[in-house]
């Protein structure tokens, strides 16, 4: 026993070095896998506080662009107003119901909440940004984040009381279901970590006639992202001879450098979808097991 204590005393610095190293690395690997870490909630609150202070000043430098984005968005919504449209068929007459919208078949599926980006990074391989809304404001993991001009920018990966952490599309592990606007063919958007102005779209079959400049929207194979929101335009078509799929370089609509006001979009039926998915998977597994016996 005495020797053990002597050993510890002799190698005390080395042992504490190893201990701290193991602690740091275990935190890192845990975070890389699950986006969870010790004290992350408390630390998020603290960094969020300082980041929002800094952001108050930083805001003024992006006001012009932000204004332009919001104005364009307003413009597109203004054109959707019912008063812009008239009925041309004179044979029929309009009966106004007391209920303004069709309540029988319409169920709200996606709900958007506004939020503000308080810190942002685009320099590393794993880019995150922080929003000033957290669990107190009803933000949960896996919600989609959409820029003020309606283009997709990321997904929530961590939530503390008043702040939340978003995994940007510019994250080496980010994958988003996407589709071509013209053909509705589904693929997935990834980032190769090279340049912050290009994303990569994979899994679009070569039977699709893709042209440079085609619009890419969010696809239907996602529980998180509402379908039909803009991602970007095709800027380069890379012929991959070995497969039947295109590799498309996509220029995102969102300027990740100056994200300011964003929307957090919740899929209200996500739980149900995930539960169904799990139940199906379980049924299939059971069936396979029974077959094997």
């Amino acid at each position: 026993m005495r020797n053990v204590f002597l050993f510890i005393r002799r190698y005390f610095t080395f042992l504490s070095f190893v201990l701290l190293q193991v602690l740091a690395l275990s935190m890192l690997f845990r975070y890389n896998r699950t986006h969870r870490a010790v004290f992350l909630g408390k630390a998020n609150e603290l960094t969020g506080y300082f980041n929002s202070k800094y952001d108050n000043v930083d805001d003024y430098f992006h006001l012009k662009e932000e204004n332009l984005r919001v104005h364009r968005m307003n413009d597109s919504l203004l054109n959707l107003l019912p008063r812009n449209f008239i009925k041309v068929d004179t044979g029929s007459h309009v009966i106004t119901d007391t209920v303004q919208f069709d309540t029988t078949y319409m169920v709200r599926r996606y709900l958007a909440k506004e939020a503000k980006v308080v810190s942002n990074s685009i320099n590393s391989l794993k880019n995150y940004f922080q929003l000033n809304r957290g669990s107190k404001q009803g933000i949960k993991d896996n919600m989609a984040v959409i820029n003020s001009d309606g283009s997709v920018v990321g997904q929530i990966v961590g939530v503390s009381e008043n702040f939340s952490q978003v995994m940007s599309l510019l994250h080496i592990h980010s994958t988003v279901s996407a589709m071509m606007k013209k053909s509705r063919n589904n693929g997935r958007i990834e980032w190769d970590g090279q340049s912050s102005v290009y994303l990569t779209l994979r899994n679009i079959p070569k039977s699709d006639s893709v042209l440079v400049g085609d619009t890419v929207l969010t696809g239907i194979n996602s529980y998180n992202y509402p379908p039909g929101w803009m991602i970007g335009t095709v800027s380069e078509i890379v012929e991959d001879k070995s497969t039947n799929f295109y590799v498309l370089r996509v220029r995102p609509f969102a300027n990740f450098q100056n994200l300011q006001q964003v929307f957090v979009v919740e899929n209200l039926q996500r739980e149900e979808q995930v539960a169904l998915d799990k139940a199906t998977q379980k049924k299939v597994d059971d069936l396979n097991k029974r077959k094997a016996q």
Binding site: F12, T13, S16, F17, L20, Q21, L23, A24, L25, S26, M27, L28, F29, R30, Y31, N32, A37, V38, F39, L40, A43, N44, L46, T47, F50, N51, Y54, D58, S119, S121, I122, N123, S124, L125, K126, Y128, Q165, I172, H173, G193, Q194, S195, S196, Q257
Partner: protein, 177 residues
């Protein structure tokens, strides 16, 4: 100003500059990433014990990590350089800590050449370790090599610039007093 107060102010300044200035610089190129916060660890006094050096290194790295969004990554690298710092000082200048005429590692205390070697070795270690961990996670070996060289070069440039623009006023200590 006492050493403690001086280092607390430095800690806030280094983390602040790194998080709110250097990390917000629009990227010139994906290999050019300016990192300077770890200079805080290089500037800690000679007299600090090796154990406390490790703890301070860990906390510095962790603080930056929470801002950066990668808990553990910079903490691991900072603990590594905090561990190797005394060895490198010892190899370059085989003196006892009490024999130094200045309280902190600086060009004045060690001479320009040994000080530059000291800074270079520790920044190489820091970036090498961080990029090694990054490479293990998302791998591209050529990128890893280029990044180690480029980030170390940028850090050296920043540190030399910092040393020249902001000379530290360090007191000359004598044994006779």
């Amino acid at each position: 100003m006492s050493d403690l107060l001086r280092n607390i102010i430095r800690f806030i300044l280094f983390i602040g500059i790194q998080v709110y200035i250097l990390d917000n610089v629009p990227p010139l190129h994906r290999f050019i990433v300016p990192v300077i916060y770890f200079l805080f660890i290089l500037w800690l006094p000679f007299s600090i014990s090796r154990f406390w050096l490790l703890i301070i290194g860990f906390l510095t790295g962790l603080t930056y990590d929470y801002f950066f969004g990668s808990p553990g990554l910079h903490a691991a690298a900072c603990v590594l350089i905090a561990y190797f710092r005394p060895f490198i000082v010892n190899i370059l200048i085989p003196k006892d800590t009490s024999e130094f005429n200045y309280s902190e590692p600086s060009a004045k205390a060690m001479g320009w050449a040994p000080y530059m070697v000291y800074v270079f070795a520790l920044s190489l270690l820091h970036h090498g370790y961080i990029l090694l961990l990054e490479w293990l996670d998302v791998g591209n070996f050529l990128d890893f090599l280029i990044k180690v060289v480029s980030t170390t070069a940028i850090s050296m440039l920043l540190i030399v610039t910092a040393e020249i623009i902001f000379p530290r006023r360090l007191k000359y200590r004598t044994n006779t007093a």
